[in-house]
């Protein structure tokens, strides 16, 4: 027997022996290492308690009893794959074979050669996870090429990650706002494996995370994957009570990076059965970052699509406006020269106003500059006086105001020629209430007429245009009078509509998902 034991100690496999009562009678060095129990402690203990996982103990005891009674052992001398228990309670896969021998005392002794399959199992699982990871990434890449909305795409990504990682719920937060006002907002797009998880959607819909706040906030601030294996015990997880109630106790948050900034955070939740070991986290990290890039691309594509449609809409609109201007001018003009002048003059004015309102939208336009631009077409600037308060014109009001001033200047150019010495005074000021801007355009004749000029028979297109611009577009009042002293137009414009807000926020277009 001693001879046999010294032979067993040289074996690469764990070799253990058990008597008919189920107690350990042999335990080699490899078994000490594999199971964590030193020989001295193992000897005489119950083999079932020592290395058989709880769920297999009954079968182990019944098999031993059956053999003792009948001499039959169907599992003996065969290769068996099963799991075993380490001293630290961790279960691991093993391959073993058991053979009975006669003991020195006449009874039976069962020897088992046991080989740990933990390394093979780990390698197999790693390979499988990698294959699933590859499949998920391929599916996401294919989806990216399809014509689906950003919301649908986000949903697909969440579904894919949950499918490969075994997580039960997934959600995407986006960063909105700038600088100190930036917060993570829930998109409301979720993957839920079971409708009973629904309460977490409502609990999440009301939260906004600042950097460093909560699990998503920490993923955002650190730029790293954050994992929580025990949500109920984490005081940093603000929504823990709702999540705990439905049984979601594990969480992973992944920042979505693009161009050096975090644009959003993917969040995944699992029950206590969810495995969050290194392999799974590594896979989440890979899939998550790839999906982050894809999501960001999709957002960009959608943003471009919005801009493209907006552009096409604007061009179509501009052409309609152009056709309208042409028809209106052509209706009024008596000669081709008159038509050229009226049409091209207005065309240039619309173009300039458009440039100021759209292209230079980041800079607000001063009222003074608008007046100067319009009166620039008039000769003899020395005869023009301009007085205007410091006022930035709101971009929506630039176009109508510029067109009104253009009509007035064009008119002055046309009729001013008959009285060489006339002077032009443009004076803008706020009224007593400070709520209206009163803009007065006055053309003084050097020599007043002896009799009042006749009232024009009909209202010209220019006048109608100004009147509609003032009342329809600017919500103001338009007055016009022609007398012996000259020509005078008074505009009373509400300051609220006219003035640009103090700080022009950069124009942004939100994508559909970001608003969802």
């Amino acid at each position: 027997m001693k001879h046999l034991e010294s032979l067993f100690d040289r074996a690469l496999d764990a070799v253990v022996g058990m008597d008919e009562a189920g107690l350990v009678v042999a335990w080699n060095g490899a078994a000490e290492e594999m199971f964590g129990w030193p020989r001295a402690e193992a000897m005489g203990s119950s083999m079932g308690d020592l290395i058989v996982p709880p769920q297999h103990r009954d079968a182990h005891a019944r098999g031993l009893e059956h053999y003792n009674r009948t001499g039959e052992g169907p599992v003996l001398e065969q290769r068996v794959r099963i799991t075993a228990l380490h001293r630290d309670r961790a279960e691991f896969p093993v391959e073993l074979s058991i053979f009975p021998m006669s003991g020195d005392g006449g009874g039976r002794i069962f020897y088992a050669f046991i080989r740990s399959m933990a390394a093979e199992e780990a390698a197999r699982r790693a390979q499988e996870l990698r294959a699933r990871e590859g499949e998920a990434l391929l599916a996401v890449a294919q989806k990216l090429l399809e014509d689906v909305s950003l919301d649908e795409f986000t949903q697909f990504c969440l579904d894919s990650v949950c499918a490969v990682s075994g997580m039960e719920a997934g959600h995407f937060h986006v960063v909105r706002g700038r600088g100190p006002h930036a917060r993570l907002h829930p998109t409301g797009i979720w993957h839920l494996a079971d409708p009973r998880f629904q309460p977490v959607v409502e609990a999440t819909s009301v939260v906004r995370f600042a950097p460093g706040e909560g699990l998503p906030g920490r993923a955002w601030q650190s730029g790293q994957l954050q994992a929580l294996v025990d949500l109920p015990a984490s005081c940093q997880f603000v929504r823990r009570s709702v999540f705990e109630e439905v049984g979601l106790t594990r969480a992973v948050a992944l920042p979505v990076w693009q161009g050096g900034d975090v644009h959003g955070v993917l969040e995944f939740f699992g029950t206590s059965y969810a495995r969050l070991d290194e392999e799974v986290l590594r896979m989440l990290q890979t899939v998550g970052s790839q999906i982050g890039v894809a999501l960001h691309r999709k957002q960009h594509a959608e943003h471009r699509e919005t801009l493209r449609r907006e552009m096409s809409h604007r061009v179509g609109n501009s052409l309609s406006v152009l056709a309208s201007i042409y028809r209106s001018c052509s209706r009024e003009a008596r000669t081709k020269d008159e038509l050229d002048e009226a049409f091209l003059g207005r065309l240039v004015a619309v173009g300039q106003a458009n440039r100021m309102a759209v292209e230079d939208a980041s800079k607000s336009v001063a009222l003074q500059a608008l007046i100067e631009e319009a009166t620039g077409i008039l000769p003899e600037r020395s005869r023009i006086s301009i007085e205007a308060p410091n006022l930035s014109v709101d971009r929506d009001s630039i176009m109508p105001l510029a067109l009104i001033l253009n009509e007035l200047a064009t008119n002055a150019l046309k009729h001013g020629s008959s009285c060489q010495d006339s002077r032009l005074a443009v004076r803008a000021r706020f009224d007593e209430s400070n709520e209206n801007l009163v803009l007065e355009w006055r053309e003084h004749r050097a020599v007043p007429l002896a009799v009042p000029p006749p009232t024009p028979e009909r209202v010209g297109f220019g006048t109608k245009l100004m009147w509609h611009m003032v009342e329809g577009r600017l919500g103001g009042i338009f007055e016009r009078c022609l007398d012996e002293a000259g020509f005078r137009v008074m505009l009373r414009l509400p300051r609220e509509r006219l003035e640009a807000p103090p700080e022009l926020a950069p124009a942004t277009i939100h994508s559909g998902a970001a608003d969802g």
């Binding site: 809409h313 028809r327 577009r473």
Partner: protein, 122 residues
């Protein structure tokens, strides 16, 4: 037939006004916002409104048309540069007698308005 024009682009509105007047119709007003449109429609109760869907600012042409139809029984011709963006809900609420996609030619305008005139006359 008395027509209200709801259009925030002044050039287009004035041109429409002239074209409609040339066709022998009366234009009761030009409104650039939903509020003005409702105000003018209440004051004049036109036979028809020509409504652009996209108005400046937060104004909605669809809401103006829906109000005029529901409260005053005034039918609308819906004008838009992006008819494909017209939702089914918009159509249900406004129940337009005709749709007119921008840009449209005077010939097209004539055909649509004459057609609507014939239908409303019955």
């Amino acid at each position: 037939m008395r027509i209200l024009i709801v259009e925030d682009e002044v050039f287009i509105a004035l041109d429409l006004e002239m074209q409609l007047m040339d066709m022998g119709y009366e234009v009761v007003g030009i409104a650039g916002t939903k509020e003005t449109a409702i105000e003018m429609a209440c004051a004049h109760v036109p036979d028809l409104a020509l409504v652009d869907l996209h108005l400046a600012g937060p104004s909605s042409g669809a809401e103006a048309a829906a109000f005029m139809r529901a409260e005053l029984g005034v039918p609308s011709v819906i004008v838009s540069g992006s008819l494909h963006e017209l939702t089914e809900a918009d159509i249900a609420a406004t129940a337009p007698v005709a749709l007119l996609g921008k840009p449209f030619s005077p010939v097209k305008l004539h055909a649509v308005i004459r057609g609507v005139d014939a239908v409303l006359d019955r």
